[in-house]
């Protein structure tokens, strides 16, 4: 019920007073109300729930955290990084993912 799907905003138009967008989800396009994301522009990714965009996805935040996750994935196969990490872990008191990985940096 709270399902929300990310898609790319490819077009916006004004229908009466409503700002409406076309959002592409993979190969499918849907019309979406943009009342709650006045800041969203063509090219942005938005999160869509029951016909309304409820947020504009934060590209920078997504990139940052995903790179951290990717490093975690790589750590598994890289003994050198693994060693660095365990050293960093003993130094770093911050337990969060971002904290641990920032410490490796």
């Amino acid at each position: 019920m709270c399902l929300a799907v990310p898609g790319k905003l490819v077009e916006t138009e004004l229908i009466g007073e409503n700002r409406v967008g076309t959002v592409q989800f993979g190969g499918i396009k849907r019309s979406v109300f943009l009342d709650f994301v006045p800041e969203a522009e063509v090219g942005d990714y938005v999160l869509v729930h029951v016909g309304f965009a409820i947020s504009r996805l934060d590209e920078e935040e997504a990139q940052r955290t995903y790179q951290l996750l990717e490093r975690i994935g790589m750590l598994e196969t890289d003994p050198e990084l693994e060693a660095q990490e365990s050293q960093a872990k003993t130094e770093a008191r911050t337990p969060s993912l971002a904290g641990t990985l920032d410490a490796i940096h």
Binding site: M1, A4, V37, G51, D58, E61, E76, S96
Partner: protein, 369 residues
């Protein structure tokens, strides 16, 4: 698809499972609030991937599951009228009322339609001025802005044949009720990422402080949930009880302001009954008095209709995280998605349906040991 595929990367998921294993030293009970998260956990078998010390119990975050039986009875009553077109999200049609469900009414010839968005109901009202169009406005905070906006736009347009049967519920009061319960087992919560996209997570700080319980706002893909579990385990192992945000690509502390504004303009906080749980003070939303002309309960004079719930399934304990679906003697036998006894078996997001769909019922013996 972007923002989905990368959060299903098996290598990262495995690495996070290893991280959780390294971190955990004793048993912890965690609860994911949202039914969408329950679905992901079951679908990807995450509950079986993580170390046995970390037990996941499933929360009440399935609006279909917690909509009280009397609201379903009201929906059935309204939908049965010959001049009404009743519009609902699909899942609600099979939820049993005390005598019938909406599918039953539809089969008898009532005009019951399934919609993906409340704006479709507004469109139907606009196109059919001689029909009284009623939208079944259920959901958590995620759905409230859309349902509020439908009423708002209908009023702006001057539509007089559109109304909403509202049964909206809120997450923080439900968490409070669970934590206040003397038999509570939950030690850490994964907060629902899409509810928090709308409302932010500032409200959860008071709960974390008061009950000394860590809360991590989590997303819906397997990597999101594994990361959220890891963050919770880290907090618990270190004795911290903070609110952290795993789902930062869409969730901010303050949430979506325009969405919150429309909720405030159209709805007001009210006591709500939760199916299987009972009445929780200030745990829901109803239409404000200035939207009385769009309130189906008032229009159709059903405000006093009430009904008792049958005591034939253990959904109350499942929704409170006290029991697992497989603990129910009816699970997979007398109760299946085709013939549900209780709402958690109806909704795709209900815990019972998730267990059933991903074949946990074949594992009954090991689950109950």
């Amino acid at each position: 698809m972007r923002y989905i595929d990368e959060y299903r990367d098996p290598k990262i998921a495995q690495a996070l499972v290893d991280k959780i294993r390294e971190r955990v030293t004793r048993p912890w009970v965690l609860m994911e609030i949202c039914g969408g998260q329950t679905h992901t956990l079951m679908r990807y078998g995450i509950d079986e991937l993580i170390p046995k010390q970390v037990e996941l119990v499933h929360g009440p975050g399935c609006p279909v599951c917690v909509t009280p039986i009397e609201i379903v009875d009201k929906a059935v009553e309204i939908a049965s009228r010959p001049d009404v077109t009743f519009v609902s999200y699909g899942d609600m049609l099979r939820v049993p009322g005390s005598k019938a469900d909406l599918f039953h009414v539809k089969a008898q010839g009532a005009d019951v339609r399934i919609a993906y968005s409340p704006m479709e109901a507004v469109k139907i009202a606009r196109a059919n001025p001689s029909r009284r169009v009623v939208f079944f406005a259920i959901g958590f905070e995620t759905t409230a802005p859309a349902n509020a906006m439908a009423a708002w736009k209908a009023r702006e347009e001057g539509l007089t044949n559109f109304s909403e049967l509202v049964s909206h519920v809120l997450v923080p009061p439900a968490i409070r009720l669970l934590l206040n319960s003397p038999d509570n087992r939950v030690q850490g919560f994964i907060a629902p990422g899409h509810v928090c996209t709308v409302m932010g997570y500032w409200e959860y700080k008071a709960l974390a402080d008061e009950f000394h319980v860590p809360i991590v706002v989590g997303g819906f893909e397997p990597v999101d949930l594994l990361e959220a579990i890891w963050m919770l385990v880290a907090q618990l192992e270190e004795g911290r009880a903070e609110v952290e945000n795993q789902y930062a690509r869409t969730v901010t502390s303050e949430g979506n302001q325009p969405a919150q504004r429309i909720i405030e303009q159209v709805f007001e906080v009210a006591d709500r009954k939760w199916r299987g749980i009972g009445s929780i003070p200030s745990s829901g939303l109803r239409l404000r008095p200035e939207f009385a002309a769009f309130d189906a309960e008032k229009i159709f004079g059903l405000e006093t209709l009430s009904a008792e719930e049958p005591a034939d399934c253990i959904s109350a304990q499942v929704l409170k995280g006290l029991k697992k679906p497989v603990d129910c003697p009816a699970f997979g036998a007398g109760c299946t998605p085709e013939h549900p006894l209780g709402a958690p078996m109806v909704s795709a997001e209900g815990a019972c349906a998730a267990y059933y769909q991903y074949r946990r019922h074949t594992n009954l013996v090991s689950c109950s040991l």
